[in-house]
Symmetry: C2
Subunit: 355 residues, 2 copies
């Protein structure tokens, strides 16, 4: 096993802040990006955490991300908006979209905001979770045009036509943590296939087809050439995962005016935000949600499960652990991050250990 | 194989109309119910078609459905409403909810309507499809409180805590048929288990667990006693199906003020309706949707598939066939429907064969 280091989340946040400030981000925006990345690590979603620092810095250097670009309103009504993010960081576009959607839902009960020309938006659940922590119900959808690779086949097909197109939702539960669903509509991310390939391991069945459309457990059959495809989520019922992937494409992409076919980078976000009190008093909803939580958690577990957990519950436990004990990062990834930070004149040991 | 009869859909519609009128439904409401049931058969969804006539008539006789009950507004804003359906037919509640949601979305861009005290709402996709045929994007969610059986286990659990909680969405595609997703968040409906039990067949793996939480392919292990449970949709990723089931419960149930725990009959519907032109011109969206459709359909099929079809596409083909060639009904079901109709003084041969 590679060596794993642990880092205090607040210091990691300040470190990332310094990196993104050195990239040219205004301080409020550097903070949005840093909090998002460190927040992903805290919730156990390391693939969308500080491991992305190098990628983002490279994207800035290549002009694919434009730090500080104005996020402007392309179209707007009282309770909807399409934001043009000007190729600013996806987290900046995402936070602006969420702020806009919550402000509109506060006055107009249900709102929807989409984004175009938006960088990699990171952990989708961060946006719905933040809305639920303000008492809203939120749904999120995040597509990627083919610029970043259309790896996922339609149901019954053998070539990629969609990205892993995640969706998320969060339900506020009064003083308890929200119910937080956050998942891809594909059977696996491409990154996991790479890991299996590098480790020379067979894939679980049902993840991919080869270029002829035959089921395969060999990661090399995905990469080809000729390239295979990742299957939509759902196994024998994968037509449902495919349908959900199309829903994400329609809301995150088409409704923002983004072609599903033309190769552009970045993500398209769509957020729907619902004000609970348009339907019933917040306290009544919280009480019904608590009743549902208890009812579900009272279910005796199956063998191999210690208990029934609600969506998001395991992640909130990781959060508590990592706040207390730090964020684990493998030594190689850490070295890459530090190297990239140093290219911008930022050093970890130059970051204060305490506030 | 049992004998299968075929019936002209228009005559079947008039027949159902007469049955529901004889139940005491106002004519506009009898038409809503009949069109919904025959429409389900036309789309190939026979489990939600005219086979339900006997169940509904029985429910009326027992007072569980109240024909003609006023559908009233419990809470309302410009773009949201909670409707109290007074235990009228679920189709009446559903159509009223949809009409309300479309009217609000027409003026206020995105709307959401939920229902309480609503009978069995039938085929969920009928509502989202109807919205898309009017040019709206629509999402639908339909829960059932435990009155009708909580058969579906949470992820990692071994007792039922949710119903099969379907969700649906429809995306308008200009002059093409909408993209129409409509599916349960469980691995199977309970009715299919009954069929396998009666036919003494083994279930496909991954559908159920027995009362101890062990995977089983014996339908009797579901029925017990002690009773097992249906698994959430998604196989090894069933935590996603479970999460979607909870989303349906939260929107269709909790947000309408309906407890997830107290046994009541019927369904809770939640419909979100989005006006495309709040984001971009309808024609531009239609063109992007057509581009997506063509791109997906250009995917070469895997072995065992003749072509890649979009969600809903196979159903629209069944529709065309059944409009032309009639609706197939097995002889036994037909006999039951006729018997039930006769108890209300309605006879098939009393229904004109032509308009």
């Amino acid at each position: 096993m590679p060596e794993t280091l642990r880092f205090d989340s607040k210091r990691a946040n300040r470190f990332c802040n310094a990196v993104f400030a050195a990239c040219g981000c205004p301080s409020a925006e550097a903070a949005m990006i840093s909090e998002h990345l460190v927040g992903a690590n805290l919730m156990g979603c390391d693939s969308h955490g500080i491991i992305r620092v190098c990628q983002y810095v490279t994207d800035v250097k290549k002009g694919r991300i434009v730090p500080g670009a104005a996020v402007t309103v392309a179209t707007e009504t009282d309770n909807t908006a399409l934001l043009d993010c000007g190729w600013n960081f996806g987290q900046v576009g995402g936070v602006r979209a969420l702020q806009c959607a919550m402000r509109k839902a506060e006055s107009y009960h249900i709102s929807m905001v989409t984004t175009r020309r938006c960088g990699h938006a990171g952990r989708l659940g961060a946006y719905t979770q933040a809305a639920a922590q303000q008492g809203f119900i939120a749904l999120g959808f995040c597509n990627s045009p083919p610029g970043d690779g259309h790896f996922v086949a339609p149901w019954g097909g053998r070539e990629g036509r969609l990205s892993t197109n995640p969706m998320s939702f969060a339900i506020p539960c009064g003083t308890s943590k929200p119910i937080l669903g956050d998942f891809s509509t594909a059977q696996t991310p491409e990154g996991k296939l790479r890991l299996y390939l590098n480790q020379n391991r067979a894939l679980p069945p049902g993840w991919i087809v080869d270029a002829q459309g035959q089921p395969s457990t060999a990661p090399a059959d995905f990469y080809g050439p000729p390239r295979g495809a990742i299957l939509p989520f759902g196994g024998a019922l994968g037509y449902r995962g495919f349908a959900l992937g199309l829903l994400v494409e329609a809301l995150g992409g088409l409704l923002a005016g983004t072609s599903a076919v033309k190769p552009v980078p970045g993500n398209g976000l769509a957020l729907i935000v619902i004000k609970v009190s348009a339907f019933l008093p917040d306290a009544e909803f919280a009480s019904l949600a608590e009743e549902l939580r208890s009812y579900v958690k009272s279910c005796p577990p199956s063998p191999g499960h210690e208990e029934v957990t609600l969506p998001g519950e395991p992640d909130f436990r990781v959060f508590d652990d990592r706040i207390a004990n730090g964020i684990p990062v493998d030594a190689q990834t850490w070295q890459q991050i530090c190297h990239c930070a140093e290219s911008l004149g930022v050093r970890w040991d130059g970051i204060a250990a305490k506030d």
